[in-house]
Symmetry: C2
């Protein structure tokens, strides 16, 4: 298996992506960096990193945050992101990891790697670490959704959780503003009907915000607007609480001593709630695995995203997704 | 001033509502309970509570969770909620507090107390305690919204924060899935334009989920679906974090001792983040203050909601809201 990493994606690139690529070699697979060879080599040299075990797929530019997403298809087709996606599409690799701009990665992946036949829109998802890991899908790819898209997200999410995370019969919930099936906007009301009548879907009904992190479901279906707001609200709530906790620990000598005792397990708890520790955000619904790593990814996050890509590819979840949508097409 | 409390609203009624009413007498205003006189009196007697200082507005039934919302206007018009709203509308009181079913209270308040002239839809809001208090509006009254409703929420929220919470020139943010003005669904894109071009509104642009609790704005404008999901997601995230913290404290003898030192300030921190400690959820856009107390309100929460009602009524925010919409009508 060969995994490509976008050398120039993310705030800490290329140093942390190179380090992450080197760390990821432990997985025993071939790792390639796509990027500007001269830049990669001089960064490695300056930091005394031996990159002889990494392959390099040459590119000539970088997708920047301020670039329009569609540039990845045109004037920046030769960027590290564009070149990586093309290498993936042409069969030179099995998966692609990038911490570059989300919009460009979504557009590039959709147009270059292409969708699984029958999939209307690829979705961005995140495994939220709560009482049990739960996949929030979509969390930002499609702000505006139709009910049948939410049904597709449910099926894609189910296969991901089953194959990659190992949940046997994932419980699928619809994020809503109440438990009753009449709740929500027209989108949720219609989607509820589709989800409830779908054969073979372990549909658990509506899930309210309060239960999202408390283990109510394994797959949380939402439109990309709502999913994005949820994901970032959880981040903000955690930041606020850990910030307050820190203030409290530094209050006086007694609290400082007490905090010192608790520090290691507190760090462990904080890490257990940090979804970036689990890898990146998978983009599902594409012909091949593409993972969006967090923009602030360090070497460890990049390495975790590569491991996630390997697990995804090895799991056969991609083939299962294709089968699900192929059999659907036959039914129509 | 006379404040009415729905004696039978909430999971802990009538005992906690009666206790809350008694505690609220400290504010120096007249407090009336609306409910079934016999039930109120026997509950007070059984618990040795002297309720002679409270007034009672008689009702003959109770709005239950499973009742349809519109029952408050028809077969349950004589319920404690229905009777309380009518007494408020007819001028017998200045504000109404209920921990009863939200849907019924919204419908009853809208139809009986009536909207401020020019207001399309009343909104339910909550003051979120984060880095600074921020009013989330709407958090559940209107799942489906039009852009002009969001503009109205912004104005209502501004007057509430200015009058009741004392924020001089409230910064208004639009909850969105990105900072750029092109972000969101059609609703946010259109609402952004309305908010940006509104004279006299201190519009701070889009607010992402991450910044909601981190003090980005004083008024957070959202449709009721999104607002509800945010509010409950924050509740769930806090429940998860405090639960994990508790586990961590009980790990071993050393952690238990350390936790004992931190316990008082931790309790204080938890309380500072618990929005129910600040009172209830104001329903704004009505001719008179109506406050939805949390369904699980205890005596303290009821008392806090009454204090909030008194502050609201005294602040003149209601008159200001009416002026804002009256002058608007003139412009049309």
């Amino acid at each position: 298996m060969r995994i490509i990493i976008d050398a120039h994606g993310g705030d800490l690139a290329p140093l942390e992506t190179i380090k992450g690529a080197l760390a990821a070699l432990d997985c025993g697979e071939r790792i390639a960096l796509t990027g500007i060879p001269k830049v990669i080599r001089s960064c490695a040299e300056e930091n005394s990193l031996d990159i002889s075990a990494l392959e390099i797929i040459p590119a000539s530019s970088v997708m920047e945050m301020h670039d329009e997403a569609k540039a990845v298809l045109k004037e920046k087709a030769e960027s590290s992101m564009g070149a990586g996606l093309r290498a993936l599409a042409s069969g030179e690799a099995e998966a692609f990891v990038s911490a570059g701009p989300t919009g460009a990665l979504l557009m590039g992946a959709t147009m270059i790697v292409k969708r699984i036949k029958g999939v209307k829109r690829p979705a961005l998802c995140v495994v939220l670490p709560g009482e049990n890991p739960a996949l929030l899908i979509d969390c930002g790819a499609n702000a505006e959704c139709r009910p049948e898209m939410l049904l597709q997200f449910a099926k894609l999410g189910r296969e991901y959780m089953r194959g990659v995370v190992g949940v046997e019969n994932p419980r699928v919930g619809l994020v809503n503003n109440g438990a009753e099936e009449s709740k929500g906007t027209q989108l949720q009301i219609e989607a509820y009907k589709l989800l409830a009548s779908e054969q073979g879907l372990n549909f658990a009904g509506n899930v309210e915000g309060r239960d999202i992190l408390l283990g109510a479901c394994d797959v949380l279906v939402a439109d990309g607007f709502t999913g994005n707001v949820i994901l970032k609200t959880v981040e903000g709530a955690a930041a606020l609480l850990f910030g307050r906790l820190k203030e409290l620990f530094y209050q006086n000598t007694a609290s400082k001593l007490a905090a010192a005792v608790l520090k290691p397990s507190l760090k462990q708890m904080k890490d257990s709630l940090d979804y970036t520790k689990y890898g990146g955000a998978p983009i599902v619904g594409l012909c091949k695995p593409v993972i969006k790593a967090h923009g602030s990814s360090n070497a460890e996050a990049i390495k975790n995203a590569v491991y996630q890509a390997v697990a995804w590819q090895s799991s056969g979840a991609g083939e299962r997704m294709a089968e699900v949508f192929a059999s659907e097409k036959g039914e129509e």
